[in-house]
C-alpha cells in the first residue's frame, strides 16, 4: 500500500464493460457507430443561435437532443447542457454494462469526468441577468451548474457512487486523462468507475471564446470545414457532446458475469514545451511510453485514432510523431471525429468508444471527407470507406490546447453485440 493506495506489482488491465454516447453522430452507441461506418457527418450550420455575425458558422450539434424529454425533470433547470448530455451518456453506459450501482459496494464505485469549459451556456445566461438586472437575479443554481465539477457531482448523486470521484480539465486530452485516472482507482481499491467527458459550449460566448484561439475553420461549407491531414485543411470545427465508459476491474466484470468491449492496456501523458523554446513536441515520446506501459510493440498496433487537429501545423507535428514511432505509412491512421467536430473533453472519450467498437467489430472506420493528403503528412490514412482488417490493438491520441498530450492503448474485448 502507498499514500495513494496504489498497489504495487502486476495488475490485470481494466476492462470496459459499458458505453454511452451523446454526440453529433447520434444519441446512443448504435446510432453513433452506424453514422461512423456510413461516414454520416453531424456537422452543419449552427442552429442553437444565429451565427450570421460570426466568421465561424459550422459546428457539430447533437441531433434531436431534447433535454426536457431526456433529462429528469428538476435537473433540466438546475444544470447546464454539458451535464444534461453527461447524465444521459452515463446512464446509458451503466445500462449497457448491466451495472446496478445500488447493488454494488458504494465506496468501490467512482465517477471521474473530464470537462474543458464547464457550464458555459448556463453561465452566460446568469451573467446576462447579473449585468442586466442585478445580483439578486442570479439563479441559486449558478453555483452548482457552472463549475467544472457539476457533472461528476450530479452523476455521483444520481447513481449513489461514493468512491474517490474526480474531475480533470486537460482540454481535448481530458477524456484520456479521466480514463487514466480511472485505471489508477481500479488499482487502488475501486472496482467500477464511470468515466467520461462532455462539453457543450455552443452558445455565443462559448463560440467566441473558442474563436479566439485562431484555430477554428471559417469555411462555411460543412463538408469542407474540417479536413485534418488534407491539403484543404482549414482549422477545427467545434462540437458538443461526448461519451461515458464503464471501466471495471477484470475481476469485477468476471464476478458480475458480463462481457467487455476491450482492455485499457496502457497510457502515458506529457506536455509540450512552451512556444519558442526550440524543443520538439512530446507526442512521439508519449506514444512510446504508452506502448511501453502496455507492453506492446509498435508493430503490434493495428490502428491509430489520431487527434487530427485540422490546423495544418498541428497535423504536421502529429503526422511526424506517428511516423517517428511506427515508420512511414507504418500503421493505419484514422480520425472519425471529422463527423463530430472537436468535442473537447468529450473528444477523446468518444474516440476511445469508437476505437473499442472498431476492435470488437473487426472494422477500422474511415476518415470521411478527405481528398488529398497534405505534403509532409506521411500517413496511411484510412479513407473513403471502412476496412475489415480485424484489428486487435488500437492507440488513441489526444492533444489539448496549451500542450496537453496523451496516448491510450486499448486491446480487443469479447463483447461483439454492438459492433456486428
Amino acid at each position: 500500500m502507498s499514500a495513494s493506495g496504489l498497489r504495487s506489482g502486476h495488475h490485470p488491465p481494466p476492462v470496459v464493460t459499458g458505453l454511452g454516447v451523446v454526440a453529433p453522430t447520434g444519441i446512443g452507441v448504435r446510432r453513433h457507430w452506424e453514422s461512423v461506418l456510413a461516414g454520416k457527418s453531424g456537422l452543419g450550420r449552427i442552429t442553437r443561435f444565429d451565427p450570421s455575425r460570426y466568421p465561424v458558422q459550422v459546428a457539430g450539434e447533437i441531433p434531436g437532443f431534447d433535454a426536457g424529454r431526456l433529462v429528469p425533470g428538476r435537473l433540466v433547470p438546475q444544470t447546464d447542457r454539458f451535464t444534461h448530455v453527461a447524465l444521459i451518456a452515463a446512464e446509458a453506459a451503466l445500462d449497457d454494462a448491466r451495472a446496478e450501482p445500488r447493488s454494488l459496494p458504494e465506496y468501490e464505485m467512482a465517477v471521474v469526468t473530464a470537462s474543458s469549459s464547464g457550464g458555459t451556456e448556463f453561465g452566460q445566461h446568469e451573467m446576462e441577468r447579473l449585468y442586466q438586472k442585478g445580483s439578486s437575479w442570479v439563479s441559486a443554481y449558478q453555483s452548482i451548474a457552472w463549475f467544472y465539477a457539476a457533472t461528476t457531482g450530479q452523476v455521483s448523486i444520481r447513481h449513489g457512487m461514493r468512491g474517490p470521484c474526480g474531475v480533470l480539465c486537460c482540454e481535448q486530452a481530458g477524456g484520456l486523462e479521466a480514463l487514466a485516472q480511472s485505471r489508477r482507482l481500479l488499482n487502488s481499491g475501486s472496482r467500477l468507475v464511470l468515466s467520461g467527458g462532455t462539453d457543450a459550449s455552443l452558445c455565443p460566448y462559448g463560440l467566441v471564446a473558442q474563436m479566439a484561439t485562431g484555430n477554428l475553420s471559417t469555411e462555411d461549407d460543412p463538408a469542407r470545414a474540417y479536413k485534418p491531414f488534407d491539403v484543404a485543411a482549414s482549422g477545427q470545427v467545434p462540437g458538443e457532446g461526448g461519451a461515458f465508459l464503464v471501466v471495471e476491474s477484470a475481476a469485477s466484470a468476471r464476478e458480475r458475469g458480463v462481457g467487455h468491449y476491450g482492455t485499457l492496456l496502457g497510457h502515458a501523458a506529457g506536455f509540450d514545451p512552451p512556444p519558442g523554446s526550440g524543443r520538439p513536441p512530446v507526442l512521439a515520446s508519449v506514444i512510446r511510453q504508452a506502448l511501453a506501459n502496455a507492453e506492446v510493440g509498435p508493430e503490434e498496433v493495428d490502428v491509430v485514432f489520431a487527434d487530427a487537429s485540422g490546423v495544418p501545423a498541428h497535423d504536421l507535428a502529429e503526422a511526424r510523431a506517428i511516423t517517428e514511432v511506427f515508420g512511414p505509412g507504418g500503421v493505419p491512421v484514422t480520425a472519425p471525429k471529422t463527423l463530430t467536430g472537436r468535442l473537447y473533453a468529450g473528444g477523446a472519450a468518444l474516440d476511445t468508444v469508437t476505437a473499442l467498437l472498431a476492435l470488437t467489430s473487426g472494422v477500422v472506420p474511415h476518415t470521411a471527407g478527405l481528398e488529398r493528403q497534405a505534403p509532409g503528412c506521411d500517413l496511411a490514412l484510412v479513407r473513403d470507406r471502412p476496412r475489415r482488417t480485424d484489428p486487435r490493438v488500437a492507440v488513441v491520441l489526444a492533444r489539448g490546447h496549451g500542450g496537453f498530450t496523451s496516448a491510450l492503448v486499448a486491446g480487443r474485448g469479447d463483447r461483439t453485440d454492438i459492433g456486428q
Binding site: 442585478g134 442570479v138 441559486a140 452548482i144 467544472y148
Partner: protein, 424 residues
C-alpha cells in the same frame, strides 16, 4: 510500492501577504485578513466581506505581457510556483523535463477574466450574441481552467504529465493527491502541485449570495469568518494560491533537500447526497479519513493535529465535527483542531493547497495555527479548536480535510520527514 512523495518547496500567495514567510506570520499571529470587498463595488450584495490578497503582479515579478495574458488566478499560481521552485533549491533547468509534472487544482478557473471579458463583449449584458471583435486574444485561455496548469508547466519547463484538477472546494487537496500518485506510479520524479482560485468577482459573489452560503455580517469584516463559533452564519470568500514542489523521497534525500513533510496517505469519498447539502453524520468524510489513515498505516492516536475544513457554515462545522468523532473516536477530543479559514477566508479550490502548506509549515515549526474569532461555543462543536492563539505543540503527523460542493470529501495525512522522526 516503494516510491514516496515529500514536500521540498512551498510557495504561497495568500490574503495578508505574498510568500510563505508572510503567510506563516499571519497564521501564527492569529491575525485576520478579511475586510470589506475592494476588488469590485459590492454595495448591492448580501455578503460584502472577503479575504483579499494585496497583490501587485509586477512587484511580484511578472512581466507586463504575463500580466496581460494571465487571469489573476494564473498570476497567483505562477508567483507561488516560482517561490516553491526557489525554496526547493532544485535546478529545474538541469532536470529531465519529461520527468517533471504539474498538478494544479482550481474550483472556478479564470472566473475574473471570463466575467470581465463577458461584460465587454456583451456590452454590459445587452447582447446575447456577444461581439467577437471586442474579444481579447487570451479569451479562450480564460474559458478553459486548464490554462492555470499550462502556465505553471511553462514556469517549470515541465514536459511530463500535466493536469488541472477541478473538484470544487477539495480541488487543492485532490490536486496534491494527484501529484503524489504521479510520483508513486513513476510517471514523474518532480511535481509542481497546488491550487489557485481568484473568485472575488460579482458573478461568484452573486451565486453564493443566492444560496446564502456566505456571511451577511458586513459590519465587522475583520471578525466575519468564525468557524466553530456559536455565532457563525456563513463563510467568507477568499482568494490565493499555494504551490508545492513534490519530489520522490529517495531523490530528495540524495540531493540533500530540505524536506518539510512527507505525504503519508490520502483518500477521497463522495457523499452522493446533495450538491451543496451535507448530512450531519459526517459519514463519507469519516470514511475518507479512515482510508487515508489506513493507507498511511496510522492509528487515530498517531494524529497530533487536524487542519479542519472549518468553513464557518453551521452545516459544515457540525458535519465535520461528527466526521472527526466517527473516524478518530476518543482521539478526536484530545487532538487540537483548527481552521485557518478564520484568518484567510475560503478560497474555494485553492484553500486545500493553502491548508497543506499550513500543515507543512506547522510540522516544520511545531506550532499549531489557531482558529481566530472563536469565542462563543456551540454545544454541537465540542472539540479543541485552538481558539484565537497559536499553540506550540509537538507534532509528528497531522491530518487535513476538505469538503466541497458536489459532495467531495478528501482527507490527507502528512508527517515530518522520516530522518527527523527517527531522530525524535
Amino acid at each position: 510500492m516503494s516510491r514516496r512523495a515529500v514536500i521540498t518547496g512551498v510557495g504561497v500567495v495568500a490574503p495578508g501577504g505574498v510568500g510563505h514567510d508572510a503567510y506563516w506570520d499571519l497564521l501564527t499571529a492569529g491575525r485576520t485578513a478579511t475586510r470589506a470587498i475592494s476588488l469590485f463595488d459590492a454595495s448591492g450584495f448580501r455578503s460584502r466581506v472577503a479575504a483579499e490578497c494585496d497583490f501587485d503582479p509586477l512587484a511580484a515579478g511578472l512581466s507586463p505581457q504575463e500580466v496581460r495574458r494571465m487571469d489573476r488566478a494564473a498570476q497567483f499560481a505562477v508567483v507561488a510556483a516560482r517561490e516553491a521552485i526557489e525554496d526547493s533549491g532544485l535546478e529545474l533547468s538541469s532536470a529531465d523535463p519529461g520527468r517533471v509534472g504539474v498538478s494544479i487544482g482550481s474550483a472556478v478557473g479564470c472566473t475574473m477574466g471570463l466575467e470581465d471579458e463577458y461584460a465587454v463583449i456583451s456590452d454590459g449584458g445587452r447582447d446575447w450574441l456577444v461581439d467577437h471583435t471586442y474579444g481579447v486574444p487570451h479569451l479562450y485561455g480564460y474559458m478553459v481552467p486548464s490554462t492555470l496548469a499550462v502556465e505553471v508547466a511553462w514556469q517549470a519547463g515541465a514536459e511530463g504529465p500535466v493536469a488541472l484538477i477541478s473538484t470544487g472546494c477539495t480541488s487543492g487537496l485532490d490536486a496534491i493527491g494527484h501529484g503524489v500518485q504521479l510520483i508513486e506510479e513513476g510517471g514523474a520524479d518532480i511535481v509542481l502541485a497546488g491550487a489557485t482560485d481568484a473568485p472575488l468577482s460579482p458573478i461568484t459573489s452573486a451565486c453564493f449570495d443566492a444560496i446564502k452560503a456566505t456571511t451577511p455580517d458586513n459590519d465587522d469584516p475583520a471578525h466575519a469568518s468564525r468557524p466553530f463559533d456559536g455565532r457563525r452564519n456563513g463563510f467568507v470568500l477568499g482568494e490565493g494560491s499555494a504551490v508545492m514542489v513534490l519530489e520522490e523521497a529517495e531523490a530528495a534525500r540524495r540531493r540533500g533537500a530540505s524536506v518539510y513533510a512527507e505525504i503519508l496517505g490520502f483518500a477521497g469519498r463522495s457523499n452522493a447526497f446533495h450538491m451543496t447539502g451535507l448530512k450531519p453524520d459526517g459519514r463519507e468524510m469519516a470514511e475518507a479519513i479512515r482510508v487515508a489513515l489506513d493507507r498511511a498505516r496510522l492509528d487515530p492516536d498517531d494524529i497530533d493535529y487536524i487542519n479542519a475544513h472549518g468553513s464557518g457554515t453551521k452545516q459544515n462545522d457540525r458535519h465535520e465535527t461528527a466526521a472527526f468523532k466517527r473516524s478518530l473516536g476518543e482521539r478526536a477530543y484530545r487532538v487540537p483542531v483548527s481552521s485557518i479559514k478564520s484568518m484567510i477566508g475560503h478560497s474555494l479550490g485553492a484553500i486545500g493547497s493553502l491548508e497543506v502548506a499550513a500543515c507543512a509549515l506547522a510540522l516544520r515549526h511545531q506550532v499549531v495555527p489557531p482558529t481566530a474569532n472563536l469565542s462563543v461555543s456551540d454545544p454541537e462543536c465540542d472539540l479543541d479548536y485552538v481558539p484565537r492563539d497559536a499553540r506550540e505543540h509537538r507534532m509528528e503527523r497531522v491530518l487535513t480535510v476538505g469538503s466541497g460542493f458536489g459532495g467531495f470529501q478528501t482527507a490527507m495525512a502528512l508527517g515530518r520527514p522520516r530522518t527527523q522522526r527517527e531522530v525524535a
